[in-house]
């Protein structure tokens, strides 16, 4: 019984250096997830700021060039959110790789990073916008009455409070994103999931490689939650 298990371990990981599928897959998954998170954050914040600025300033509309541009940008953002949140991420991944990047010969990983980053941006945007809108209007007025411009009030007063409030939700979005990258195999990327699956197809034993893959995701998610918890506590320190 124990011998059989050792044999299986050997066949799944050691023979032909099969463990490298897991190792390489892990790094590919990390690379895609990390860069996608950064893209999602940057783009998501931009969209959130445009959308909430539009909401907050629409009763003050002065019909200048600025407010026309803001209104246009807001429309574009709304369209973007509708499309991204209304379609499955796998379909987005396939479209980006096979349609948008079909003529230019790009790296598959790059296509996946774009797909997951643009997808995550939509969710980050709504989380951050919720955070911004939850801050009492008096904070904006207090900032403005001191003489801070609207952008400076955002930077020094509104966003620091909003980010603190949405950190748990953002952390959750990162966790979802990491797990979502497991569909990268649809465009034949050898990520962690695909790596485990390749071993399964070679050794005809499903249990060990797939459980190993699951455990690795679980550990990554647990470590990330722990780090986010620590960050959250740091940010809240002293304030009560």
């Amino acid at each position: 019984m124990f011998d059989v298990f050792i044999q299986k371990l050997y066949a799944n990981f050691i023979q032909d250096d099969r463990y490298m599928y897991i190792v390489n897959g892990f790094f590919t998954t990390c690379k895609i997830a990390l860069v996608a998170i950064v893209i999602g954050l940057l783009l998501g914040f931009v969209i959130a700021i445009i959308r909430s600025s539009y909401d907050m300033n629409k009763d003050h509309s002065k019909n200048g060039l600025g407010s026309i541009l803001l209104s246009l940008a807001n429309k574009i953002c709304n369209l973007y959110l509708t499309i991204i949140r209304g379609t499955p991420v796998v379909v987005q991944l396939l479209i980006i790789y096979f349609v948008i990047f079909s003529t230019v010969n790009v790296n598959k990983t790059f296509a996946a990073i774009c797909a997951f980053g643009f997808n995550s941006a939509a969710y980050v945007a709504e989380i951050v916008r919720g955070g911004i809108m939850s801050i009492d209007k008096g904070q904006l007025e207090a900032g403005r009455s001191l003489g801070f411009s609207y952008p400076l009030t955002m930077i020094f007063i509104i966003l620091p409070q909003a980010i603190k409030n949405v950190l748990p939700a953002l952390g959750n979005e990162f966790i979802v994103l990491i797990k979502e990258t497991s569909v990268a195999g649809y465009i034949a990327i050898e990520d962690l999931t695909k790596g485990g699956d390749i071993i399964r197809s070679r050794t005809y034993s499903a249990f060990i490689p797939l459980i190993t893959v699951a455990c690795i995701y679980l550990i990554v998610v647990l470590v990330l939650s722990k780090l986010l918890n620590i960050l959250e506590r740091r940010l809240r320190a002293g304030e009560r």
Partner: protein
């Protein structure tokens, strides 16, 4: 600038809430008033009479739909004038304090001078500590706002505005959100400020404060100023029947 000019000249100020066609509120209706340096103007009137709207139009937190507000010779509604620069000279204190909860008291007070007036952190902190000393809260410099009582918060809000070294202070019911036992400490700070010849415009229901400290008292109703008088005349010889009715109710 000519010292005889009013500090703030309000001419035919109008504010209509709501777009054309919709149900609209005429919150300010042809309000004209001159506010001179050193004036302590107290604005009273029934709820919904436009007091807050009037005050908020003075620093453009509310954009007037007509008329003009000239502050130190500049029309605040003119987009060519930098409203942020003008607001630095107009301190504002809100009913709900609106301290920044993610900053210590000291940071609340120094962020404006440091980021906007380009003072050094040290210099800004020195001014802030002097002001805190004056309102008896120097020991709370390192506290966060939610560690303070309402009265303390409002005193901090006042000195935060003072850190910008404004030429006028606007108060919108600064004591209305306070427990009764804390009203006095905030009014004392305002009285001390008036004594130092700060120009102040105060919306308040504290008639005692108006009587004692104001140089002028104004009565608003339905978006109009219908009485503007010295406190003595205002309270002892009210001419307007609506004002008489109002005073009977509140005194």
């Amino acid at each position: 600038m000519n010292a005889d000019n009013p500090l703030i000249k309000v001419t035919n100020l109008e504010k209509v809430f709501g777009k054309k066609g919709e149900i609209s509120t005429h919150a300010l209706d042809n309000v004209s008033i001159d506010i001179n340096r050193g004036d302590v103007l107290v604005v009273v009137g029934p709820s919904g009479s436009g007091k807050s709207t009037f005050l908020r139009c003075l620093n453009l937190l509310e954009v007037p739909t007509g008329g003009s507000v000239i502050f130190e010779g500049q029309d605040i509604t003119d987009p060519r004038n930098n409203i942020n620069k003008l607001r630095m000279k107009m301190g504002m204190v809100f009913q709900q304090f609106n301290l920044f909860p993610h900053m210590t008291v000291l940071k609340n007070m120094t962020i404006g001078p440091v980021k906007l007036l380009k003072k050094s952190q040290q210099e800004a902190e020195k001014t802030a500590m002097e002001l805190l000393e004056r309102v008896g809260l120097a020991d709370r410099a390192g506290s966060y706002p939610n560690q303070l009582s309402g009265g303390q918060k409002q005193r901090i809000a006042i000195v935060r505005a003072l850190c910008m070294n404004p030429d006028v202070m606007l108060f919108d019911e600064p004591t209305s959100a306070l427990d009764p036992e804390m009203v006095g400490e905030v009014l004392d700070v305002m009285k001390a400020l008036a004594k130092q010849k700060m120009t102040m415009i105060c919306v308040t229901h504290e008639m005692g404060f108006a009587r004692e400290v104001a140089s002028r008292v104004v009565f608003m109703e339905n978006g109009r100023i219908i009485e503007d008088n010295s406190p003595k005349e205002f309270f002892e010889n009210p001419t307007n029947p609506r004002l008489k009715e109002f005073l009977d109710k509140v005194l």
